[in-house]
Symmetry: C2
Subunit: 294 residues, 2 copies
C-alpha cells in the first residue's frame, strides 16, 4: 500500500467517525481502530487530530470545487440558477455530514494552526463567491463584490442557524440561498450610490496575500496519476483504468487539448464513484480541472 493511500485511509476513516460521533467525541484511539492502523502510523502522517481535520477540510474543498466546476460546464455563467446550485454544493456536503457545527465559527480553538486553516477555508469560499458575483452582476460591481460575498455568507449562515433553532431541521437550502441573493441584490444599488463599503479592495488584497495557495503543477499531477494508476487493482473498472492511462498521456503532451480532457473529466469522476478510490479520483479531477483553467 503506498504512502498516499494510507493517509487517505486515515482521512476517510476519521471523516466517517467525526460524522458519527462528532469531533471531540472521536478519540485517536477510535480513529486508528477504525482505520486498522497503529498509533505510530497515525502520528507518522499527522501530528494531531487537528491536522487530520484540516486534511479533511481540504478533501471537502476538492469535492466541492469539482462539483461546482461540473455544474458550470456548458452553462451560461450569468445564470442565477447555476449560481444557486453552486453555492449550495458545500452546504449540502457539510449538512449531510453534520460538519456544519465544526466550522461555522472559529471553533474556540487553542490551536493556532487550526484557526488559521479554518479562516483560510472560509476565505477561499468568500473569494470564490466574490468572483462569481462579478460574473453574474457585471464587472461594474467589482468594488462591492467582496463586501457582498461576506454579507451573503453572514446573512445565510445566521438565517439558517435561526431556522434550525426554531424547527430543529435544516432550512430549505434553495429558498435560503435565493433569499440571500435577493437581499444582496437589493443592497447593490445602495452600495453603488454611496460608493462606500467597509471591506474595500485593499482588504481583499491583504487577505489574498495571506492565503497560501496550494501549488498544483502539471508535473505534480502527472506524478500523482502515476501513483494512482499503480494502486488500481482487479476490482477497478476497465473504464477507470483506461481513463487514467488516457489522462496521463494527455497531460504529457506539450499543448493540453483542453476540450478533449474536459469532456472526459466527468466520466472519470463517475468511474470511481463509491469505490475505495473515489476520494483520490475526486482530488485528481479537481486538480486537472484547475490546470485547464490556467
Amino acid at each position: 500500500m503506498t504512502v498516499n493511500t494510507r493517509k487517505r485511509k486515515i482521512i476517510d476513516a476519521s471523516l466517517q467517525l467525526f460524522i458519527e460521533k462528532g469531533f471531540h467525541h472521536t478519540s485517536i484511539q477510535d480513529i486508528i481502530a477504525h482505520a486498522n492502523i497503529s498509533k505510530g502510523t497515525f502520528y507518522n502522517y499527522f501530528t494531531s487530530k487537528n491536522e487530520c481535520f484540516l486534511a479533511i477540510l481540504e478533501q471537502l474543498r476538492y469535492t466541492a470545487q469539482l462539483q461546482r466546476y461540473e455544474l458550470l460546464a456548458n452553462q451560461n455563467e450569468q445564470d442565477l440558477d447555476v449560481l444557486i446550485e453552486q453555492i449550495i454544493v458545500p452546504m449540502k456536503l457539510h449538512e449531510e455530514q453534520n460538519l456544519i457545527t465544526l466550522f461555522e465559527g472559529i471553533f474556540q480553538s487553542s490551536d493556532l494552526e487550526l484557526k488559521k486553516g479554518l479562516r483560510q477555508h472560509r476565505f477561499h469560499e468568500i473569494q470564490w463567491l466574490t468572483e462569481r458575483f462579478t460574473n453574474v452582476f457585471g464587472e461594474e460591481i467589482r468594488p462591492y463584490a467582496f463586501e457582498c460575498a461576506v454579507i451573503f455568507f453572514g446573512i445565510t449562515h445566521y438565517l439558517a442557524m435561526s431556522w434550525r433553532s426554531a424547527y430543529h431541521l435544516p432550512a430549505d437550502l434553495h429558498r435560503l440561498v435565493q433569499k440571500g441573493l435577493e437581499y444582496v441584490q437589493a443592497l447593490l444599488p445602495t452600495m453603488q450610490k454611496t460608493n462606500d463599503v467597509l471591506l474595500n479592495a485593499d482588504v481583499l488584497q491583504l487577505l489574498q496575500n495571506k492565503a497560501t495557495k496550494p501549488v498544483i503543477t502539471k508535473a505534480n499531477v502527472i506524478e500523482q496519476l502515476e501513483g494512482f494508476a499503480k494502486q488500481l487493482d482487479i476490482k477497478t473498472s476497465a473504464t477507470g483504468k483506461e481513463l487514467t492511462a488516457f489522462l496521463m498521456e494527455e497531460l504529457m503532451r506539450d499543448e493540453l487539448r483542453k476540450h478533449v480532457i474536459k469532456a472526459t473529466l466527468q466520466s472519470y469522476h463517475a468511474a470511481f464513484k463509491s469505490t475505495s478510490h473515489e476520494s483520490e479520483a475526486v482530488e485528481l479531477s479537481y486538480k486537472i480541472a484547475f490546470l485547464l483553467k490556467n
Copy 2:
C-alpha cells in the same frame, strides 16, 4: 462567607482566567487555585467547566442589559445613535475580554447543555434587537423585524470577522454597526414590497416558547438584597450601604415608586464600581430595572 459570594468568587476568577488563557487552556485546577477554593467546593456549585461558563454568560448578560438600560434613560427611544451605542455594549464587553471567539459560533461542543445555553444567549440578543427595531423603524415593520435582527447580526459578525482576518485588529465598532444598520434599512423597502421573509412571526413565537426566561420576582430580589446587605463590610462606602438599605425599603412598599427607584439605580451601580461587590451589584441593578419595566 455566604453561599452566593463563593459562587460569585468562582465566576469572577474563572472569567479572568478565560480571558487570560482561553477557555480550553484553563483547567479546573487553575480555577480553584485562582479562586482559593478546593476542588470539592467547585463541584459543589458547578458540575463542570461548561456550567461555570454559562454562569459567566449570564453575568455578562446582566451587565450588558443594565448598561443598555442606562443608555436609554431619558433618551428618545427612536434615536438611532442611542441604538448604535446600545448595540455596541456587549460587543465591547466581549472584545475587551477576548470572549468573542468563545461564542461567535456554536463551539462544536459535545455538551448539549452548553449548546443550548449559547443558543439562548444569542436568541436573547436577537430578540432584544427585534424589539428595538420596531421602536425605531415603526410598528409597521414588525413582521420583518425579526428577520432584520438576524440579518443584522449575521452581517456585522461576518464583516467584523473579515476585517479582523485582514488587519488583525478589531473593526471600528461604531462604523461597523452603522454600516450594518444602513444595510438593514436598505433592505426594509424590499421586504415590505415582497412581503415575504424566511423567519416570520411563527419562528419567533416558536423560539420564544423554547427560551426559558429567568424568573425575577420582587420577593426574590428583596431576598437577594438582604443577603447582599449582610456581606457589606467596613470597606464598603457609606453610599453603597445607604442605597442598599434604601432600595430594600422601597421594594417592600406595595406600590413601587418607579421614578424614585430609577433615579437611584445609576448611582447604585456606580457605588460599587471596582469593588469586590461589583458583579452582584450589577446583577441586582439589572433585576430591579427589570422589575420597573414590568
